[in-house]
Amino acid sequence: MKLFRLDRLAWIFMRVSGFILIGLIFTHLTVNLMQDGGVKAIDFAFVAGKLADPFWQWFDVTLLWLALIHGSNGMRVVIDDYVYRPGVKRGLFVALGVSTAMLIVLGTLVIFTLDPCPVGSPAELLPSFCSAS
C-alpha cells in the first residue's frame, strides 16, 4: 500500500479538517448569530471592526481555506458517485477545482486587503474607531 496516495491523503484531510472546522464554525456562528443582535447586528462596521484585528483575520482565513477545501473535496466524492459519463465528470471536476481556487484567492484578498475606514464613506457606516482622532 502506498502511504501517500491522493485518496488516502484526502481521507485523512476530511477527518482532520472536519474536526478543526467544528471549533471554527461553532465559534463563527456564536459570534455572528448569537452575540448581541445576532444576524441583525451584522453590517460593514461589525465586519470591518472584526477584520481590523489580526486574530480574526487569521481565524477567518483558516476557516475559508479549510471549509472550501473540505467542501469541494466532498463535492468531488459526490460527483464521482453520481456522474458516469467520463467527459461530464471531467468537466465538473475542472469547474469545481477552478471555482474553489477562485473563491480561496478572492476570500483571502478580501480578508487581508479590507480597509476598515475607506475615505469618502459616511462615518455612521464605519467602525467607531475610524472617527477617533
Binding site: F19, I25, M34, V39, D43, L106
Partner: protein, 122 residues
C-alpha cells in the same frame, strides 16, 4: 426479526444520507457566502444592502435550517471519525447515531429561540 437487510433503511443508511444532503447544502451556501462577504471590500453601503437580505423573515428561517444542517454534519462527522478510529465505536455506531440526534437537539434548543428572537423580535 431479521428482515433480510443489514444496511438499507437502518441507522447506518440514514446517517449517510443525511450527512451527504447536509454537506451538499452547506457547500452551496458556502459559495454564496464567500461572494456576499466579498462585497464588504467594494463598498460599505453595498455590503449593508446585501446583508439586509439576510435579515428578512424568510432568510432568517433559512439560517435556522442552515445551522441545523451544520450542527448535524458536525456531530455526525465526529461519529464517523470515532467509528473509523475505534472498535468500540464501530460496535456501537447505532447508539452513537442516536447520541448525535440528542446532541443536535440540545444545541438547536439553545440556538433557535435566540436566533428567532433576533429575526422576529422588534
Amino acid at each position: 426479526m431479521f428482515r433480510g437487510t443489514l444496511y438499507r433503511g437502518h441507522e447506518g443508511m440514514w446517517s449517510w444520507v443525511l450527512h451527504r444532503i447536509t454537506g451538499i447544502a452547506i457547500y452551496f451556501f458556502l459559495l454564496v457566502h464567500v461572494l456576499d462577504t466579498a462585497t464588504v471590500r467594494i463598498d460599505p453601503h453595498l455590503y449593508n444592502v446585501v446583508m439586509a437580505s439576510y435579515k428578512t423573515p424568510i432568510m432568517g428561517l433559512g439560517e435556522a435550517v442552515l445551522v441545523a444542517a451544520i450542527v448535524f454534519h458536525a456531530f455526525n462527522g465526529l461519529r464517523i471519525i470515532l467509528v473509523d478510529m475505534t472498535a468500540w465505536a464501530s460496535r456501537h455506531h447505532r447508539a452513537l447515531f442516536y447520541g448525535v440526534l440528542v446532541l443536535w437537539t440540545v444545541v438547536m434548543v439553545a440556538f433557535l429561540p435566540r436566533h428567532l428572537m433576533h429575526v422576529f423580535g422588534g
